[in-house]
């Protein structure tokens, strides 16, 4: 277990953490502003990935593929908000869960119908492929570094949007008191569509970016969705800072646990048993983390409301 290996794994953890943040930020915004639990957020991630893969095949440009992913996911989000989600704001959580579960079925089977059951592949662009050497002699794939950078830039933009722009002020006001800002003349229906489309675009971007290092296939969104739920529970629902901290914690725990738990167990167990037990325990690590946070702070690290 060399320092280089540890550094590489920390970078891997950061990379999966910032991508999780893009998912969790949208979910937590949508919950914070509209009070809606959206299971179909993973489907928007998938829509982004498929739009990117299809565009990359058609045009050969990675940049256009990213733009297409953003646009397709935002459009799908806005459409779904207008048709279905809008009717759910004043329903209870059970109705929201079921209606968005129905949307997952429709999105997944619809995508399978259009693109077939076989996974698509999105190539990493030439300029971003291959490894780079970091200070300390660490060889690391350039594209993964790009993902970390991209995630941090988007996170910074999002914080700026929420803190410094008029839209951000409206979003924060909407979280606090929706009747009040409606009375002040803000078009709530449009604000909600906008927030939903923004969350969808973030999910679509994450799908397209991650799609290049994994395969693009139906059902790719749901595992990420559930991880994003863990992130939100840890960070506190409605808090963007919480989503960032939670995402990094979950990304690092998941990656480092998978590598180091088996090695840790190997110190006092037989190698074969250690690998098996380690793998089993590592798959549970983030949920144990979530349970620990719940015991300590039931509303999450940054959650204010009870």
């Amino acid at each position: 277990m060399t320092p280089i290996l540890i550094a590489e794994q920390v970078l891997n953890g950061l990379q999966s953490g910032v991508m999780l943040f893009l998912m969790a930020a949208g979910l937590t915004l949508i919950f914070g502003v509209m009070g809606l639990i959206n299971l179909a957020h993973g489907s928007l991630y998938m829509v982004g990935a498929f739009a990117a893969a299809a565009t990359a095949v058609a045009t050969g440009s990675f940049l256009l593929a990213l733009v297409a992913a953003l646009a397709a996911a935002a459009a799908a989000g806005a459409l779904v908000e207008r048709l279905v989600i809008r009717r759910l704001y004043d329903r209870d959580h059970l109705d929201q869960v079921l209606a968005t579960f129905a949307l997952i079925l429709i999105f997944s089977e619809g995508t399978r119908w259009i693109f077939g059951s076989f996974p698509l592949y999105l190539d990493i662009p030439q300029a971003l492929s291959g490894p780079v050497t970091l200070p300390g002699g660490i060889q690391y794939p350039l594209y993964r570094l790009f993902l970390i950078g991209m995630g941090l830039v988007v996170a910074a933009l999002l914080f700026w949007l929420i803190a410094c722009t008029r839209l951000g002020i409206r979003i924060r006001a909407g979280e606090n008191d929706r009747e009040m800002i409606a009375a002040l003349g803000v078009d709530i229906a449009r604000l909600y569509t906008l927030v939903f489309a923004l969350g969808a675009a973030l999910a679509g971007l994450a799908g397209a970016l991650v799609g290049a290092i994994q395969s693009v296939q139906v059902g790719m969104g749901e595992p990420v969705l559930i991880l994003a739920f863990v992130v939100i529970v840890i960070g506190g629902i409605g808090s963007i800072e919480g989503a960032l901290v939670g995402a990094l914690l979950v990304g690092l725990t998941d990656t480092l646990g998978g590598i180091f738990l088996p090695q840790l167990l190997a110190l006092f167990m037989e190698p074969a048993a250690a690998t098996q037990t380690g793998a089993a325990l590592a798959s549970m690590a983030i949920y144990v983390l979530m349970a620990a946070v719940l015991v300590w702070r039931p509303t999450g690290l940054f959650g204010a409301r009870a």
């Binding site: 869960v97 209606a99 579960f101 079925l105 719940l294």
Partner: protein, 327 residues
Amino acid sequence: MSREGLLNAAVLLALGLVPLAAHVMGEPFTITLATRAAILALAAVGLNIALGIGGLVSLGHATFFGIGGYAMGILASHVQDYEPLFEWPFLFEGSTSMPLIWLLAVLASALAALLIGLLALRTSGVYFIMITLAFGQMFYFFSISWSRYGGEDGLSIYVRNGFPGLNTLDPIQFFGLCYAVLCLVLLGARLLARSPFGLALGAARQSPDRVQAVGLDPKRLQLVGFVVSGAITGLAGALFADLNRFVSPTMFSWQTSGEIMVFIILGGVGRLFGPVVGAGVFVMLEHWLGDMSEFWHIWLGLLLLAVVLFARGGLVGLLAGRGRAHD
């Protein structure tokens, strides 16, 4: 008898008579479908206690379904492989006897429900949904990485486990057994809903503060409700594994949790027979639409969306009218 009571009786009668007719006509596949419907209904009856009476939106009931399934898989596989499950403090070779498997499945899933409930009930609302979903996923990944019991491939059990006095490999006899269990549990659920405990649990859903004010602890009521609910779903899991003679991590998957919840919504939340109607309709749709189109989940999704948006109260609500006025 009220309209809902008549409807319930008709549903129960139909579920019992269709397999009998199929048996007479020699169509074992129809019997298997009915058995599947009865077992899935049982799983949903379990969830309906937490969801319908207690208002606990658990999106992790596949956890208990899977634990029940693996209880059967683990016990039977040790007998199948002639490897004792443990030798200390006494020799235990596993089991192929349904009553013992059921008992252990119920105990194991009740224990899991107790632990998950203790953690998840520290919160409420949308947190509760996400946490139950996350713990379900934890068991899913654990079952995939636990290679001793098949890992991702699951476990095949070649011979269906036995029940004293029955030949369980005969489809109609196994159906009769599942049907009897379902009827008993429905009776139990009805008694529970009208018992002091059930009334208090319902009150804890409607107004936790008032329940607290009369000296009851709403969280404790909800915890007990959640454990009972998980135990019933665990029993259904053991039966489901015996129906297929196969267990795999799919039983733990979040789609399974979602489907169990869908049965309740299709049928009607908080209705005694909602889960039975919902599971029956689901199995029929799965069979007929699945035959017609590879993409039948789209139609299921649209139907579900329509029920949620426009037909609150589900199919039982549509057919039998509104529920009791005070609810």
